[in-house]
Symmetry: C2
Subunit: 603 residues, 2 copies
């Protein structure tokens, strides 16, 4: 036990591993990184809080404890956790039906969402249930993120123009925008559209410009990422200098100074039940986003990321967000890349970033009083439009119609019915289409290529077949969605060809035979026997054969299990010749002649 | 078009095919069969109507039109459709929450259930959606039928003893039975238990006795199947002769004489919405039962059954049942076997059976007045206990733990929560367990068997490997449930072995690569590239390769797609030797040395 405990501790507390190697040089490096990331995170945190329908400071609260806890529990050296666009949108969608924005109940529900999501992630990590995230297929998550990006961008047009719109989903938003366009506030619109133009310019043209001015690749990248700060400072100064607030420009206003108080999340079982499903979806979407970023960055330096421990770290981060009055967080792509490119060597950089944000919360919030909401909305639009990948639709269409269907259904339902419906429909459709695609597998009638031991599809190659032997190759595992298909196929083939006296099923691509397929094979065997036909298998894989031996099937099989298709045909042909001599056309005679033989086995 | 129409007509009206060959000899034969089946069906129809909570005559009504319509549309020569035990139980479960037994609303809901079920089956047949039935895996359907059999038998103990019980599900029934056992009516119990004993004796001992007395195999079988009629006649005579009704023996009483009036089913959208899910489940369970029987009997005579046309025929049969005031029907095992063994040559035998039942409804119903319910309950118990197959649990446990879990969950939930919950949980669990089992596929590190071109699992065989080449063989299709697993596996393997400079994925068992897996392969390729490692594929199947060509992956792949694993290793080794000479330990040099090459292709 004494040796086990440190082992377990090291597994669940990765900080013990990297902390032991921590040096003064690493410290200096991580501090520099933290300063850069802090500057980038402050406007982002405020903006995502507003997107989630929460007071701006909640975004800052959600950016401290999670970073520290991730530093303790996380296995990625570069991941930065905090509020992200998609999780903020999902939070707004989950909480809006339960309480009005601006009320303590709304904030309470967001905190409860972070709590439950954190507990779920922790449980999934401890129970090693990370595979649940796999049910979110790539086309579904990609379509979902694209739709979320479109939806978020649409929702931020109104604050950019200084108008008020009604509506939950994309279509309602667009209709309401069209109706209220006349109420545009010219001052707000100038700030909003100006910020938008500036931010797009920063994103597209600043880096090439800096590179031409002799700035290095990485510093240019980082300066581009912190560009939004310039827009924040300039527009805040403009609102203050030109006294635009009385002109109707909405501003962030008083952001409470000081650190969040630690509180327990509301313990209201009725509330918890209502947000169980949204919490699960936020957890899984957040985890998928986070682990993808973590794996990508880890690979660049050949570092390891433990997917199950990542669940624990994200769970702890969300619980940390909750007790400090924040909302659901996850590992974000943009912030993690800045962290990585600025040279973060350990998760300590994240912890120092948390200190930076804490200092900003203590001392800088009065400076944010005149920050216009329009600028924050513009930063959100620019950030989320990079999430929108409509080209993926085209690429997926070219590659797979089924995946395209799942992706486009996810996008359409998310935009028309909201994020939860979009995800649920997408996942269900992806699973259905997969089962459907395997329910009618590719089956080839095969024949021998003359002069070789190879057997190939009769429709693609010039092959030799025997009218009394039907050889079928199934290119799919045999399991419940296709079990009956195989039954019907054999029934059909045999009914259409009265000459057939042997059926061979060639199984080189059969990775598994489940109980349904076993039942079907038994049915095929019995029915063929009733019709005087012998049933054989060939090229059965080792693990599949091991399992078949645990059933009665091999004892009941009228034919044999042959090592290869060539062996099967070679051993049947002499039998055929003999039985034809003995009892031509006597089907019963043949059935009796080919008595059940002990099966051979392929290793 | 003129040539198409008869073709279509022949497809949708199989009667045109067999009707054209109909002869006087076939007629005589089919008439004999019909007489035998009619005698068997009358008590069964009455019993199943009572099981469904409906008046006894409804069972007769549901046994006429469906047989005629199946004769027109069905493709099986031997299938007999009508009320069956499981569908009757499901009807009771679906309709009981909506109306009280004995009310016109209860009958109306049962008729609506048959209508919707019929329309669904028709639609599935016309749209060729028969594969939907495949989602009901064998262990789930087998567990469901076993649980239904137990539940039905439990529900019939009370009428056998003449007591009244409360409760919907199995546990409630058993508890209620225990409490009310003291109220047993001695006369009813004598009739019920006597019938039960007689029927078990008929089932187990009559056939051997008849055979010893010199009766032929088939007549003995058929006499055994019509044995219940003797119990019906004897107990009806006893109730009449000994005037047992005043002693508390419940009897069938007045069965309306005459044919059912044709009516339209109730057009109540609210009612239809409530029974949509039960109707779908009854349709699918009924279809699975029916098609299994049809395929089994067809195979015995090498006849064809068209699964999609069978859906149409069952749909028409259910609509026929509905308009003649009946309840959901399907192809039953017992009646079809009797039909087959009595020698039915065409579906006309079924139509003549319908005439037989119509004659009975017109003239024999007064004779059924004194028929005790206890006798019908006894016939149900004996019939359904043959559905209970607890041995399947043991066989399935031996063969597959996942299938065992799905089967036992279906049984437990059906008994504890009812038929619909049982089916839904079973199907969902079966799908989940399948996806789970493929989410962590078998992956082997492979090495070369010295002196051969074969590569095998390093843990099972003595093989040669190169420390700079990692060869992985995945024994599963690559798709969303396992895409991330492969990513993490490669990430882990490469992080653990700093010497690796080439990774080869051997794909002989990969039947498909979906968009999620493609994305993962692209991620693996990019991440390996970032780490200075080249990524190769080998033994990719033709259809999988065709699809990969429609993506960007092959252009981006740092390595090649090799025809065989041997080719892959053979072509990499010289490269390795060369690059090691040129720039030992210089990872960047290797990455540059192995430039992206045009992929080769396996045909």
């Amino acid at each position: 036990m004494t040796r086990l405990v440190p082992e377990l501790l090291r597994r669940y507390l990765p900080i013990l591993t990297w902390g032991a190697e921590y040096s003064r040089r690493t410290l200096a490096n991580d501090l520099t990184v933290a300063a850069i990331v802090t500057v980038m995170l402050i406007p982002q945190s405020l903006a995502y809080a507003l997107l989630a329908g929460l007071p701006a400071q909640v975004g800052l609260y959600a950016s401290m404890a999670p970073l520290v806890l991730y530093a303790v529990f996380g296995t990625s050296r570069s991941l930065a956790v905090g509020p992200v666009a998609v999780a903020s949108l999902m939070t707004a969608a989950a909480v809006s039906p339960l309480a009005a924005q601006g009320t303590p109940e709304y904030l309470g529900a967001a905190v409860a969402l972070a709590t439950i999501s954190g507990l779920m992630l922790l449980a999934m990590g401890l129970l090693r249930l990370g595979f649940l995230a796999n049910f979110l297929s790539h086309p579904v998550i990609s379509g979902f993120i694209t739709a979320s990006g479109i939806q978020i961008a649409a929702s931020q047009v109104a604050p950019v123009l200084g108008i008020h719109v009604e509506g939950e989903n994309f279509l309602e938003l667009i209709v309401s925008l069209g109706r209220n366009l006349g109420h545009t506030n010219p001052f707000t619109a100038t700030i909003g559209l100006g910020s938008l133009a500036f931010l797009f310019w920063v994103r597209q043209s600043l880096k090439p410009l800096l590179r031409r001015l002799g700035v290095g690749e990485r510093p240019a990248d980082i300066l581009t990422k912190v560009g939004p700060v310039v827009a924040i400072v300039a527009t805040t100064a403009a609102v203050w200098g030109f006294a635009l607030e009385p002109q109707g420009v909405r501003i962030v206003g008083t952001v409470p100074q000081g650190l969040p108080r630690l509180t327990l999340p509301p313990l209201d079982p009725a509330l918890w039940m209502k947000i169980l499903v949204p919490a699960l979806l936020i957890s899984i979407v957040g985890y998928v986003e986070s682990i993808s970023v973590a794996l990508t960055l880890a690979a660049k330096r050949r570092q390891r990321v433990d997917p199950d421990q990542e669940l624990i770290a994200l769970g702890a981060s969300n619980i940390g967000a909750a007790v400090s009055g924040g909302f659901p967080v996850t590992g974000g792509f943009a912030r993690s890349v800045v962290n990585f490119e600025a040279g973060a060597e350990t998760p300590a950089a994240g912890a120092f970033t948390a200190v930076g944000i804490a200092l900003a919360t203590l001392f800088l919030t009065p400076l944010l009083f005149f920050l216009p909401n329009a600028t924050l909305a513009a930063t959100i639009i620019v950030a989320v439009l990079s999430l929108v990948d409509l080209g993926a639709l085209k690429r997926t269409w070219a590659y797979s119609r089924a995946d395209f269907a799942a992706m486009s259904a996810t996008i359409l339902v998310t935009l028309a019915q909201g994020v939860e419906a979009g995800l649920v429909v997408g996942v269900a459709l992806a699973i259905f289409l997969h089962l459907y695609s395997t329910s009618k597998p590719h089956v080839a009638v095969v024949g021998q290529i003359p002069g070789t031991t190879h057997f190939r599809n009769v429709t693609r190659h010039t092959v030799v077949t025997d009218p009394e032997i039907l050889s079928l190759r199934v290119d799919e595992s045999l399991y419940f969605p296709n079990a009956r298909f195989i039954e019907e196929l054999v029934n059909e083939a045999v009914a259409a060809n009265p000459a057939i006296r042997h059926v061979i099923l060639e199984c080189p691509a059969v990775n598994t035979i489940d109980a349904s397929a076993l039942e079907s094979l038994e049915a095929i065997n019995h029915r063929l026997k009733d019709g005087g036909i012998t049933f054989h298998l060939s090229e059965v894989k080792g693990p599949v054969m091991d399992r078949l031996k645990r059933s009665q099937f091999l004892q009941e099989l009228t034919g044999k299990v042959h090592l290869s298709q060539f062996d099967a045909v070679s051993s049947i042909k002499p039998e055929l010749a003999e039985s034809t001599r003995a009892a031509p056309r006597a089907v019963a005679g043949i059935a009796a002649g080919v008595a059940p033989s002990p099966p051979s086995q392929q290793t």
